[in-house]
Amino acid sequence: MSLDTRPRSAPATGAPAGNTAGRRQRVFWRDLAMGVRFALGGGREGWTRTLLTAVGVGLGVALLLGAASVPELMQRRDDRSVARSAQDQFTGKPVPKSDSTVLQRDVQTDFRDSTVSGRVLRAEGTHPVVPPGVAKLPGDGEMIASPALRDLLDSPDGALLKERFDRYRITGTIADAGLVHPKELYYYAGSDSLTRDQGGHRVAAFGWAQPKEPLDPLLVVLVVLICVVLLTPVIIFIGTAVRFGGERRDRRLAALRLVGADARSVRRIAAGEALCGALLGLAVGGIAFLGVRELFGLVDMWQVSAFPSDVVPVPGLAVTVLLAVPVTSVVVTLISLRAVSIEPLGVVRNTRPRKRRLWWRVVMPLLGLGVLLAAGRVSGEFDPPVYAIGLGATLTLVGLAALLPWLVEASVARLRGGGPVPWQLAVRRLQLSSGTAARAVSGITVAVAGAVALQMLFVAMHDDFNRTTDNAPGRASLVVRADVGDGELAERMIERFRTTKGVEHVIGTVTTYVVKPGRLENADDIRPTTELTVATCENLRELARIGRCEDGDTFVAHSGNKGMNNWVDEAARPGKPVDLNAQSWDEAGHRHVPWTLPADSRVVRTRPDPAGEEHDGIYATPGAVDPAKLTDASTTAMIKVDRGTPDAEEHIRNTAAHVGPFLDVMTLRAVERDKQYATVRTGLQIGAMATMVLIAASMLVSMLEQLRERKKLLAALTAFGTRRSSMAWSVLWQTAVPVVIGLALAIAGGLGLGWVMVRMIRKPVTDWLLFLPLTGAGAVLVAAVTLLSLPPLWRMMRPDGLRTE
C-alpha cells in the first residue's frame, strides 16, 4: 500500500454541491478498487491471503463447474449411444432385407473388472449402412476396436483377452463419434456365420431421434440428493475460504479508519478485497476445471472417463456459478464484518454476539423430515414427488448445517474448564469463538449426513437383490448358454470346459419348455408348462437324486415346493403326451412336436446345481429325447469355478469364445449388481471423504492463522515452561471437539434421513452401522489437521517470538 492512496480514501464529508449521486458512485468504485489493490499489492502477507482465498474458491468453483457439466455430459453420451443403436430398436417395425441392411448381434464379455461390449455385423448387400465412427463395415474375421480396447489387447495385461478374440484381425479403430466415452472398451466384428437364427437382428439404419424418456424415479431422488450432499459443503467451503485471514484484514481496515475512512467505506474496501479473491478464484477454478477435464480424457479414474468436449457446463448453470461466487464472497464478507466493529484505534470484537437462536435451526431439519414423510412412498408406477423429496432432503441437510453452530456453542458452553490444561485451553478457546470451527465443520456434517443416508438407501436396495438371487458367497459360478438345442454341443462344451483352467465342475444340459397338448377346459387358462432337461445320466445326477439310471430313462423332478410340484405334474404326466414345442402353441401354424412321457418315469427330488438353483420338470436322457428334435431349446453349461485360480473366469470365457462366437457367458446377476453398487458406494465415500479433505484444508488454514496471530503468546507460554505436547494436545482438542460434535450430529441426522428415505422406497433398513468408515475418516481428519499444525506450532514456540517487539 502506498501512502498517497490514503488521503483519497477519506470520505468527502461536506462535499461540494453538485452531482452527489455521481460522486457517491465514484466513491463506491474508488473504495472497491482500493480493496482490489490491497488484495493484490498488500505485500507478501496480502498476497498469501488472496492466494489462499483464490485457491479455496477455485477448488469450489471447479467442483461446481464439474457438477454443472453433468447434465450435458450425460446427454452427449446418451446421444452417441443412441446414434449407434439400430433404428428399429426404437420403432419396433420389422425391417425387410435390402442391399443396405445389416445383420447385427450385440455381444458382451467381461474381462476382470471391466465389460467389453461389441457387435457382430454382417452386411446383407453391397451397400451396407455403417454405425457412426466406422468408415467401412468389418468383413468376415475382421474387427474394428475402440482405442482403449486396442491398447488393452496390445498390452501384456490383455493377453488373455486377446486369446478370446483370436478369430478376429483388428483392421481399424472406432472414431470418437462412435464411442460413449474415450476409455470405452467397444468393438465391431464381422462374421459371415451370423444368421437370424444365431440371434442376428436386421438393421436398416443406425441412430434414432430419442424421445424424451422420464428418468427412473429412484434415480431422480438419488440425483437430487447427491447434488445437495456434494454441493452444499462446496458452497460452505467457499464461504469459509473467503474468510481466510479475516483478522489481519480487520486490523488493516482499522488502520484505514485511523486515517479517515468511514465505516461504510471500510466495508466497501473489504468487499473489494473479497471480490478480488473471488474473481481470482473463478479464474483458478476455470483453469482447474479445464485441466481436470483434459485429465478425464486421458485416464480412467474409477471407470469414469469422458471426452473433454463433452464436459461442458450447462450455460445457465455456468452463469449462475460465475455470478453467485463473487456475490457470495461479498455477502459473506459483509456478514463477517457485522460481528466486529472496526474502529480507528483497533478492532472491537463484539464479545457478546447475538445469542444464536435455536428455534429455526431445529425447525428446519424437522420440517425437512416432515416433508419427506408426508411425500408418501415412491414406486415405479407414479411420478415421484421430486420437488418434495429435493426440498425435504435439502431442508434436512441444510438444517443440520445450521443446527451445528448452535450445538457446538451450546455444548462447549456447558463444558467446564476442568481437566488437564490442554483441554482447558481448547475449551476456553472454543467458548470464546466457536463460530469459525463450527462453520468449517458444518460442511462435514452435510457431507457425512448425506453420505450416510444415501448409503443406507443403496444398501437397502442392494440387499433386496441379494435376497432374490440367493447367492451364497462360496459358490461362484458361471453359466454358459447357447441359443440352440444341441446335445452334441452340450457334450462338446462339457469336454472343453472340463479341461479349462480353473474349472472345478461342469454340468451340460439342453433345456426347453414343453406344454400339455390338447384343448384347455377354459380358453383363458394358462397352458400347463414345464421345463424339459435333456442330459446324460451323469449330468442329471448332479441336478437330482435320480438313483439308478441308464440312457433312455426319463424322470419327473420335484423340488421342495409343493405348489410348484403340482404345476409340474399338470404337464408331466407319465404315460401321457407332451408337446416339445411350447412356442405359440395356441396360434395357427404351430408345428407340433408330440412326445409321450414314458409311463415308467420315476418322480425324483431335485438338488441345487452349481449355481444354487433347483431345476424341476421333466428330466430325459438323450436316448429318450433327441435334442435335435427340439425347436426352441438352449444348451447350457453350468460351471463351478475354483476361486483360487487366478483369472479362472477369463479362461472360461476364452473357452466359450472358442466353442462358439455367440455363446452367452453369464456371471451371476447379483455379482454384477454387487459391482455396480460397490462403485456407487465407493463413489459416495470418496465424495464424502473429498469433502472432508476440503474442510480439513480450511480448518488447517484457520488453525495456522490462529497460531500465527498468537506467536508472542506462544513464545511466552514456552518461556514459563509449557510443554510442547501440552500445546499439541490443545490444538488436537480444539479440532476434535467440533468435529466430534459435527460427526455425531451428522450421523444422527443421516440415520434419520436415511430411515425416512428407505421407508419411502418401501424397504427395511438392513444396516445401521454404515457410518463407521466415515467416523474413521473423521478421526483421520482431526489427526491430520493436528499433525500438519505441529511443525508451525513448534516453530512458533521457539523463543524467537519473544524478540519481536
Binding site: 490444561v421 514459563f720 515452561g721 509449557t722 510443554r723 501440552s726
Partner: protein, 228 residues
C-alpha cells in the same frame, strides 16, 4: 570469581543471531532475594541475556549455573521443567492467554506443574489478592486495564513460588503511576518470598527498585557494584 552464595550465575556468554552478536562475553550473578536490574540501550543484548539466563535460549558459548547446576548442557525437557517449577516470567505484554479468565491464567503454571484445578485456583486467588487484582478474577484479559493485566501477569509469575523471577520490561506498556505500583508489588512479594528478580528495563525509575544494576553495552555486561 564466583561470588559466594550466588543463586544464578553466568560467565562468558556469547550468542549471535545471524551476523550480529547479541551477547559477546557477558557475565551475571544474582543472590537469593536480590533484585538486579539489567540496563542498557535498546539492542544492547539485555533481553538476550535474560533469555539465556532463563534457559529459554541456549548461548553459543559460556556457562550458566543455577543452584550449582550447569544449565547449558541440559536437555530441552529439563530446561522446560526448570522454568515451570523454579522460574517465573513477566513480559511487557501479550503473555496472558486471552481465552482464559484471569484466575485461570494465574493458575496456569501451577496446573502445568500438575496441581489440581481447585488448589491451583485457590493459590492463584491468594496471589491476585496480594497484587490487588482479586476483583478481576473472573474476567478475561481483554476486559481488564493494562495495569490490572500486568499485575495478573506478576501474580502468575509468582504463583509457583519461583526462586527467580525474570521480568522483561514489565512496566513498558504502563504509565508511571501504574508502573511503579507494579514494581512495588513485584519487589515486595519477591523479597517476602526470598525470590531473586532479574529485571530488564531501560527506565531508571524502574531500575531504582533494584538492589544493584548491571549494564549491558554491545553484548558485554558490566557489574556496577563490583566496578565501584
Amino acid at each position: 570469581m564466583t561470588p559466594a552464595g550466588s543463586l544464578l550465575q553466568a560467565d562468558g556468554l556469547r550468542k549471535t543471531y545471524g551476523p550480529t552478536a547479541a551477547l559477546d562475553g557477558a557475565a551475571f550473578s544474582i543472590h537469593p532475594g536480590e533484585v538486579v536490574a539489567v540496563m542498557g540501550p535498546s539492542g544492547s543484548g539485555k533481553s538476550t541475556l535474560l533469555h539465556c539466563l532463563a534457559g529459554i535460549v541456549r548461548p553459543d558459548e559460556g556457562s550458566i549455573t543455577y543452584d550449582g547446576r550447569e544449565l547449558t548442557g541440559l536437555p530441552d525437557a529439563a530446561l522446560s521443567a526448570l522454568r515451570r517449577s523454579e522460574f517465573g516470567f513477566v513480559f511487557q505484554f501479550g503473555q496472558l492467554v486471552p481465552e482464559l479468565t484471569c484466575v485461570e491464567n494465574v493458575a496456569l503454571p501451577l496446573r502445568l506443574n500438575g496441581a489440581r484445578r481447585k488448589e491451583a485456583e485457590a493459590t492463584a486467588r491468594g496471589w491476585m489478592e496480594r497484587l490487588e487484582v482479586d476483583d478481576v478474577t473472573a474476567k478475561r484479559p481483554g476486559e481488564v486495564s493494562g495495569g490490572q493485566g500486568q499485575r495478573v501477569a506478576v501474580a502468575r509469575a509468582l504463583a509457583t513460588s519461583p526462586r527467580v523471577v525474570f521480568a522483561d520490561e514489565p512496566t513498558g506498556a504502563l504509565d508511571s503511576l501504574n508502573g511503579e505500583r507494579v514494581m512495588e508489588l513485584l519487589t515486595d512479594a519477591a523479597r517476602a518470598t526470598n525470590a531473586a528478580v532479574v529485571l530488564v528495563t531501560h527506565e531508571t525509575r524502574v531500575a531504582a527498585y533494584s538492589d544493584r544494576e548491571i549494564v549491558v553495552r554491545d553484548g558485554r555486561s558490566r557489574d556496577m557494584e563490583r566496578a565501584v
